[in-house]
């Protein structure tokens, strides 16, 4: 089914408030487009559980830092629409940056602490941008359920906190990471990788698996496990941004690994920054 394409905030709000009166569950999948199997798994989950599905495609400028890849971020709306047409997506919300951030825009949402760790250290304004745009989208779409992939694990924790703190009605449905056959977590940024880099990119997932194996073999010291993971990435020619072993709710480093600890990593393969994570 061909989704209805919505270009303006006003039209989307009109549609959403209409549906609100009709009851039923609205499922929402926020994306930055250039869809891959990870996104599509979210769409399928939404289709299964909801009466109508809204997918947003918006490369949100406010979550990119000044030296990041906003301009280069891959975009292919026609391809995205073709992919989405294979599913029961009712609406594709595809606003311009001017629709979302009109002149005079001034309002920002900060989720303290959770936004400052992990990816927040190298991307200090990233989660402010994510929190703000998702709050806007929740209000515009009036989503009951919002489907998000666990590859962006920190993002989910930040947004669950925002939703609880600001009393939004939307609930996040966490969906598992979708991987390529060899284990690489799917990401729109994988397209930046050369063939050689694509091979080496696997080291991130391998490192996390090695960390898990070390834990399963009895190692509980986070520093030692982090060293194992970092060393593997170095050996594969990658550069480590971070490996951390954290409490899954607070994102604070744990003194000792235990079942439920989340291990997260961010590495540079060439110029491309990739993230992945795994639960113990």
């Amino acid at each position: 089914m061909r989704p209805h394409i919505v270009h303006t905030v006003a039209e989307m709000i009109g549609i959403a408030s209409q549906h609100r009166r009709e009851r039923g569950v609205t499922g929402f999948v926020p994306t930055m487009g250039y869809l891959h199997e990870g996104h599509l798994s979210l769409v399928r989950a939404a289709e299964e559980r909801c009466d109508r599905v809204v997918v947003s495609i918006f490369v949100n400028p406010s979550q990119f830092g000044p030296n990041e890849d906003l301009a280069a971020y891959p975009r292919d709306f026609d391809r995205d629409l073709e992919l989405l047409s294979q599913y029961g997506v009712n609406y594709v919300f595809f606003p311009t940056p001017e629709q979302m951030y009109p002149e005079g825009y001034k309002t920002w949402i900060e989720v303290d602490e959770l936004s400052a760790v992990l990816c927040g250290k190298t991307r200090p304004t990233h989660f402010r941008g994510v929190a703000t745009v998702v709050a806007k989208l929740m209000n515009i779409v009036e989503a009951d359920l919002m489907f998000m992939g666990e590859k962006d694990y920190q993002q989910i924790v930040v947004l669950e906190r925002l939703i609880a703190d600001l009393n939004f009605h939307t609930r996040i449905v966490r969906c598992p990471i979708v991987r390529e056959q060899d284990g690489l977590a799917m990401s729109s940024r994988n397209r930046y990788l050369s063939d050689d880099e694509r091979d080496r990119a696997l080291c991130l997932q391998q490192a996390l698996q090695m960390g898990r194996t070390a834990f399963e073999n009895g190692m509980t010291n986070p520093a030692r496990v982090r060293n194992i993971m970092a060393e593997h990435v170095h050996n594969c020619g990658g550069e480590v941004d971070y490996f951390e072993c954290v409490d899954p709710d607070t994102l604070q480093g744990v003194p000792e690994l235990q079942s439920g600890t989340r291990m997260l990593g961010a590495v540079y393969i060439g110029k491309t920054r990739l993230i992945d994570n795994i639960a113990l």
Copy 2:
């Protein structure tokens, strides 16, 4: 009619989402309690225009600075309830601070620029607290119309910006300042004033009237008009925090007074800080 008193966020959300399905217009009057005729004018306006009315009473800790009057802020719930019982108020939402800011709370909304001028200069975190609590209340109450008095003029401008920027559905209804017979703007903080201070407090409103008269007599230089106003307050034994002549939308100082310019003042009478404003 005796309103139903709601103590928990969960109960208020349940009631609001019930009403949302029933259609009709929900009017909302957010207050910090210790109600006076100004608040009651908002309640009457809400009663006239809405199918149901929610009044919140919450002395919001996050909008008080560390050296401000949070602990001393006057409270009298029984009296407030008695006053509200004279009107068609359906619900009084009366949460504890722990209900609104449970342990682990981390999310804050900043409205840039508009929050930094006027009262924001001496109260740098005030509007962050106001923006955050009102966003929470809008989500909890699901208000269609929110009634606010123009005494807190900057607050209205900040919140209108927040609502537009974050795509909230609530609309603000601006209501005129209610004054004592001699012209003093009604405020819960007026009760801090001694008899002598109460007499002197009138200087704020007098100063603004003198500013307007000067403008009507042809004076358009903001600095000169501000001097007239400040001088009057000094002469009455008050201390000036600020007098500003600003654009009513941007809150930026105007180079020249014109019709529509907003003149705002904040003064200390003894230890009590009072605000007032007037439109040219």
